[in-house]
Amino acid sequence: MVKLRARCILVGDAAVGKSALSQMFRSDGAHFQKIYSMTAGVELLTKSVNVPNTSDSVELYIFDSPGREIFAEASEKMWGQPSVMCLVFDISSEASFSSCGRWLERVRAHCQGLQVPGVLVGNKSDLSSRREVETATAQEWAQSQGMEYFETSAKEMESCDAPFICLAQAFHTLYQDRLNTIQSIVSP
């Protein structure tokens, strides 16, 4: 029964719903902010996630970062060494999807060559009539970057936990791998 700790960097363009998504996850769906309130500094949210099929948990320290470019540089300084990352776009905005590569590079620049599990999230799935990014397109790109893909709606409380549970699971798998590595070094 181990409790792991992970620094989860949450990024993506402005207004894609990063704060909405992380707050829905944090509050178990009790809190959806309808009126847009832009994030200016990094907001830290923490939540413990049980790793499915184990008695272990991962405490996620979610660094909800501002999407607006003018705050980006200052907020990057808060990231430290990321453990996992969550990359969000809005399925009704092609532009927010095209920015994902740039966000990914930014986070990777802080990873010091470490393997950092990531997920790609297409939020606002409730706006399907205005969809600009096809599921298959997003899925394909995510796969090419070694990430899982999820579609969520913070508004409709749809699948908001899934990306975070996936990250917790991936981080837990890394932990098990490293334990095995060290075990095999000390008692081959």
């Binding site: 181990v2 992970a6 620094r7 060494q81 453990s83 932990y175 490293r178 590595t181 000390v186």
Partner: protein, 133 residues
């Protein structure tokens, strides 16, 4: 020079920032390099070793895996909680074997604090700390 048997002298690990009960901090001073303490994510990580009375320490050796930045301090006032830095090192990365570090401290103290400021991986192990006087 004699090597201390840390367990029988009443020395213990008084604090650690990570605890997986299968890989607890006690493994750091159990005299067995096959057992280890594992950090469970994020940096910095720290552990402290307490001695029952002021103890002379000439040098210290440490076995670990994936530790990068390491700082060793001694407590100079337990009430106020002030520390004095004894050594700061950046360890080499090793692949198929443990890191082995030896540092001369030539000091006397009741409490040592080890802070791991960064790692070559998300998780690091400390397998053994030995001291000699």
């Amino acid at each position: 020079m004699k090597t201390k048997d840390l367990r029988s002298s009443g020395t213990y690990v008084s604090l650690a920032t990570s605890c997986d009960k299968n890989y607890p901090p006690e493994h750091i001073i159990d005299g067995n390099g096959e057992t280890f303490w594992m950090s469970t994510g994020m940096f910095p990580q720290a552990f402290t070793i307490s001695f029952p009375s002021p103890t002379e320490i000439a040098d210290i050796s440490l076995q670990s895996y994936n530790v990068k930045g390491l700082k060793i301090e001694k407590c100079i006032s337990e009430e106020v909680g002030t520390f004095e830095t004894l050594a700061e090192r950046e360890l080499e990365h090793t692949e198929e074997l443990l890191q082995a570090l030896k540092i001369s401290l030539n000091t006397s103290t009741t409490l040592l604090r080890f802070t791991i400021t960064s790692g070559y991986d998300h998780f690091v192990s400390v397998n053994e700390v030995h001291m000699s006087s």
